[in-house]
């Protein structure tokens, strides 16, 4: 069983922060799509913005993608002008077949990775991706679960299953930690966790009604944390 991963890195143009170089190294063996989203206010038709800023934006985007290509990743760039950033990211992820979306954030080192787990869905893809990250780094991983967010599967069993999958992909068992929490507020505890770790890997979740109002857990977490966060999309799930 082997899953290939295609990572989408959305960057907000103009003048985005560069992708942290430690992250570039973790991505070296993957397929990467760098999406430059040039945010425009409602007043500006995207075509007018493109006309005027395209050349400059492309130069900027190529400059940001270059370290990735030099590190050995196979890189595609996309440049989109518009105002609906989140919608654009979702659309490009589908068009480019990306199963992982990275919010770059800030990182100096990648030593401790945390993987908050909600349930059994999409477990294969998440563990496969974490396995690949671990093979590219010397980092340790902490599988994390809060009791509140459980579906069907009890927390211990879920973490044990995930550990088994990781070991199957060739990760040494001593690099894997497990952590169970009783905390009710899922986003807050994940964000707090982030302070102890360098990097987050989250599974995409089906938006519930609450999510539609306040944003999904991954969206809130990536908005609140400074750490880089990989969101693994549930692309094997049937379309709802």
């Amino acid at each position: 069983m082997s899953i290939t991963h295609n990572v989408l890195i959305p960057l907000e143009l103009p003048d985005p922060d560069p992708i942290p170089s430690v992250l570039v190294d973790t991505l070296a063996s993957m397929e990467v799509v760098v999406l430059g989203h040039y945010g425009l206010p409602e007043q500006t038709p995207p075509s007018a913005g493109r006309n005027q800023f395209e050349t400059k934006a492309n130069t900027e985007l190529d400059g940001l993608a270059q370290p990735l290509a030099e590190a050995g990743a196979s890189v595609t760039t996309r440049l989109v002008f518009g105002k609906a950033r989140d919608k654009t990211i979702d659309r490009v992820a589908v068009e480019e077949d990306c199963d992982v979306i990275l919010t770059p954030g800030q990182a100096k080192t990648v030593e401790r990775i945390v993987v908050p787990m909600r349930g059994a869905e999409n477990l294969d893809r998440i563990t496969s991706f974490v396995g690949e990250l671990l093979s590219a780094t010397d980092a340790s991983v902490t599988l994390f679960h809060t009791s509140e967010s459980s579906d069907r599967l009890p927390g211990e069993e879920l973490l044990a299953a995930a550990t088994d999958r990781l070991v199957e992909t060739g990760v040494a068992p001593d690099r894997i930690n497990q952590q169970l929490s009783e905390d009710e507020d899922v986003e807050r505890s994940i964000v707090e966790l982030g302070e102890d770790f360098d990097l987050l890997v989250l599974g995409e979740t089906e938006p519930s009604l609450r999510d539609r109002i306040f944003g999904t857990v991954p969206a809130q977490v990536t908005a609140d944390t400074e750490d880089p966060a990989f969101v693994v999309r549930d692309i094997d799930a049937p379309e709802s």
Binding site: G39, L40, P41, E42, Q43, T44, P45, P46, S47, A48, G49, N51, Q52, F53, V80, F81, G82, K83, K87, R91, E95
Partner: protein, 456 residues
């Protein structure tokens, strides 16, 4: 290049976008002006106006699916009939939208004065201040005003429904006496007057590329939103007529002694619930009119921008400001016009001129569709085709001109002035800078080939 738009607007979203663009001065300010012309039959005028707007909405929707460029009306007419007609339509549509915004702001000022005890003479000053604020907002750039607008629209529809339901109890049937007293002429004039109340339906065309299953959802979205608005207008206007003394509606406006009320909805609410009703309606009206004026400034600045990109207006108008990332120059020019109109043109004339220019532009839109279909140009491949072609379009053109002739001398002069001004601008500026022909050029060229010119 991949298409940068995604089709994700369903029928419901399409209907709300369209209704959002329509709700505003048509309901909060115009009923009393229409009442003055048509008496209680102003209700009929609203329905008549809707019927005449419909063909242009269908035509615009069809052309929108063939030409997914922003620029809307101007682009369609320019590509159909060449840059001369494009210039006239672009300037006409621009003026019309700015008139509509300025009228909304004057009405907004009138509603604001209901909440704050200031003298009626301040309406204009308040409107000017609000206009300046909206212009600055647009230059700095906004992110979510579209979303805010759709929330406001929902609130307004709820408020209007409650208003109508409440009014059902309090309406005085005798106020509908003399329904026919002003005759057909009065109704047609009033219809021309309130024409602008439906102009927003063509907003559907500007998002046509994002609508899923356009063959089905475009015509339905247009018909449903028009239908709903016709019913809503009819009920609300009937409520306003039924709740108010004719004298209140026709004589309580600001300024001169006999100018019609600019706050008919609040007059009605006062009859219904007293002071609280007035406050609630005033707040709802202020929200709706602000959002309409803001959307109007945003949309109208697209016309100079699109014309500039086609070399029909100075190039600087298409420039996007590096600092704000907005087309600052196009917004500034629009803003200056807005302020000038509020300052120097009387309110009632604002409404008339907004409608007159809109009728003119919508008639040309219908003609543009006929030109496209007749020319059979390769590049014209709409994914939605207007039903009832060409009769619907011909009805739109004839109906439009019929309304225009009933509007009195000033709007007709205004419409003529726009045509003359547009032609003059084209001859002085555009002609030497452009060599587009439009689909009409194709038809003319074909005619020449078929009938060799006999020289004599």
């Amino acid at each position: 290049m991949k298409n940068d738009l995604e089709r994700d607007l369903g029928l419901y979203a399409t209907v709300t976008i369209s209704m959002g663009a329509m709700i505003g001065s048509g309901i909060f300010v115009l009923p009393a002006l229409g009442f003055k012309k048509a008496g209680p039959a102003v209700v009929i005028a609203y329905i008549l106006a809707g019927l005449v707007v419909l063909p242009a909405a269908l035509s615009k929707a069809e052309m929108a699916t063939a030409m997914p460029e922003s620029g809307g009306t101007y682009i369609y007419i320019d590509r159909a009939m060449g840059p001369l007609a494009g210039t006239v339509a672009g300037i006409g549509a621009w003026f019309s939208l700015v008139f509509k915004s300025s009228f909304a702001l004057v009405g907004l000022g009138a509603y604001l004065l209901l909440l704050v005890p200031l003298s009626g003479g301040l309406v204009k000053a308040v409107a000017l201040g609000l206009a300046a604020l909206i212009i600055i907002l647009n230059i700095v750039g906004t992110e979510q005003s579209g979303k805010a607008q759709s929330i406001i629209v929902t609130a307004v529809v709820v408020a209007l429904a409650a208003y109508v339901l409440n009014a059902g109890v309090a309406v005085d049937a005798t106020r509908f006496d003399g329904f026919t007293q002003k005759g057909t002429g009065g109704v047609v004039t009033a219809a021309a007057f309130v024409f602008v109340s439906y102009a927003g339906v063509t907003k559907i065309a500007s998002v046509a590329e994002e609508i899923e299953d356009p063959d089905r959802n475009l015509p339905r979205g247009i018909l449903i939103s028009m239908g709903v608005m016709m019913v809503l207008y009819t009920l609300v206007v009937a409520a306003v007529v039924g709740l108010n003394d004719a004298k209140t509606l026709t004589t309580t406006g600001p300024g001169a002694g006999d100018s019609p009320s600019l706050t008919p909805m609040a007059d009605g609410a006062g009859q219904l619930l007293g002071g609280v009703g007035v406050t609630v309606i005033a707040v709802v009206a202020i929200l709706a009119l602000t959002s309409m004026a803001n959307a109007g400034v945003l949309a109208s600045s697209r016309f100079p921008l699109a014309m500039s990109r086609d070399s029909l207006a100075p190039g600087g108008l298409a420039r996007v400001s590096e600092r704000f990332q907005t087309p600052r120059n196009a917004i500034l020019v629009t803003g200056v016009l807005l302020l000038a109109l509020i300052a120097f043109v009387p309110v009632v004339e604002l409404a008339k001129l907004a409608s007159a220019f809109q009728i003119l532009v919508f008639s040309i839109v219908n003609l543009a569709l006929i030109v496209f279909r007749t020319s059979g140009v390769e590049s014209y491949q709409p994914s939605f085709r207007s039903p009832g072609y060409p009769f619907v379009q011909l009805f739109g053109v004839v109906g439009g001109f019929a309304l225009l002739t009933q509007m009195g001398i000033l709007p007709i002069l205004g419409a003529a002035g726009i045509i003359v001004g547009g032609v003059a601008w084209y001859l002085l500026y555009g002609r030497s800078r452009t060599d587009r022909k439009g689909a009409l050029g194709v038809i003319i060229a074909r005619r020449r080939d078929e009938e060799p010119v006999t020289s004599d």
